[in-house]
Subunit: 149 residues, 2 copies
DNA sequence: GTTGATTATCAGTGACGCTGACGATCAGCT
DNA sequence: AGCTGATCGTCAGCGTCACTGATAATCAAC
């Protein structure tokens, strides 16, 4: 999609517009930098989450990533086919699939994190380090505030 | 979609996660506050843009809103059916449709802006006025920087 | 054990981005 | 004037994703 040039004042005052714009640009950067690794931004999200907390069920991963549980099935099918994630039956509760990163998954994740760092750097090119940190802090507080109610 | 509780550290350090989260929450607030007015967040975007610059073509509006031009057709069909926007043939270039807000469109827009203000207020509940302004400034600079290349 | 809830899965629907096509129109060139 | 290439709105078709609703398997509680 083409990039707009002269945002109109009323529209560009809207937070929705600003957030959507930043997110779309960032996703574009991710697509570009992750392409060589053969994974998508969504898939990186799954790998990151599994790296943080192993042995999560599909629903837990889906909820935290804000991905629909039914979409998660296909997402994991892809990751499993690539050999990055394994589904294992949970011994304690056999309804659940326990998800874990494979060795390859860990390797790809390490590289993907660097790619993601680079993508973020491009988005934040206009800001210095302090400002980037401020933006991160503000967004984090937004998220934290809203999950505690 | 349910709201995640305990974001994992690696994942929630990612800007994509933070931005997506903020945007989804904000869109949820908008859907709620705009419902009584019978318009969607996308439609509000169109009204805002037309209020800023009347006599825009469909493609101009689509590009600035980052909506696909073919989706714009249906979006305008809806707004025209509700009597908020009018399509008029451009005298100078008869390929174009000149778009303008109707009187009703202006009335609804005024109310919708208040609804949107309220939606933003809910998203930003955790931040004080200074911090909200900072966030807006940082996001605006991001957008401006990226359109100038 | 029977009932009710939860998990992963699948089919179907709707919204949206995107491609490719079309007719209508415009602009530039000869 | 006529030709050619580009642009605008529109439409059909495809792929992705959120969402609903159904299913079988399993768990938990009584």
């Amino acid at each position: 999609m083409a990039t707009p040039r002269n945002p109109s004042p009323r529209l560009s005052a809207r937070l929705t517009y600003l957030l959507k714009r930043a997110l779309l640009d960032l996703e574009e950067q991710h697509a570009e930098h992750l392409a060589p690794l053969g994974i998508s931004g969504r898939e990186l999200g799954v790998l990151l989450l599994l790296d943080d907390e192993d042995a999560a069920s599909q629903q837990q991963v889906a909820t935290r990533l804000r991905v629909d549980r039914t979409t998660m099935v296909g997402l994991l099918d892809g990751l499993e086919a690539k050999g990055l994630v394994a589904r294992r039956a949970d011994a304690a509760d056999r309804r659940r699939n326990v998800l874990e990163l494979t060795g390859d998954g860990r390797t790809v994740l390490a590289r993907a994190i660097h790619a993601s760092d680079e993508a973020e750097r491009q988005l934040l090119a206009e800001l210095d380090d302090d400002e980037s940190a401020q933006l991160r802090t503000l967004l984090t507080r937004l998220a934290r505030g809203r999950s505690e109610r």
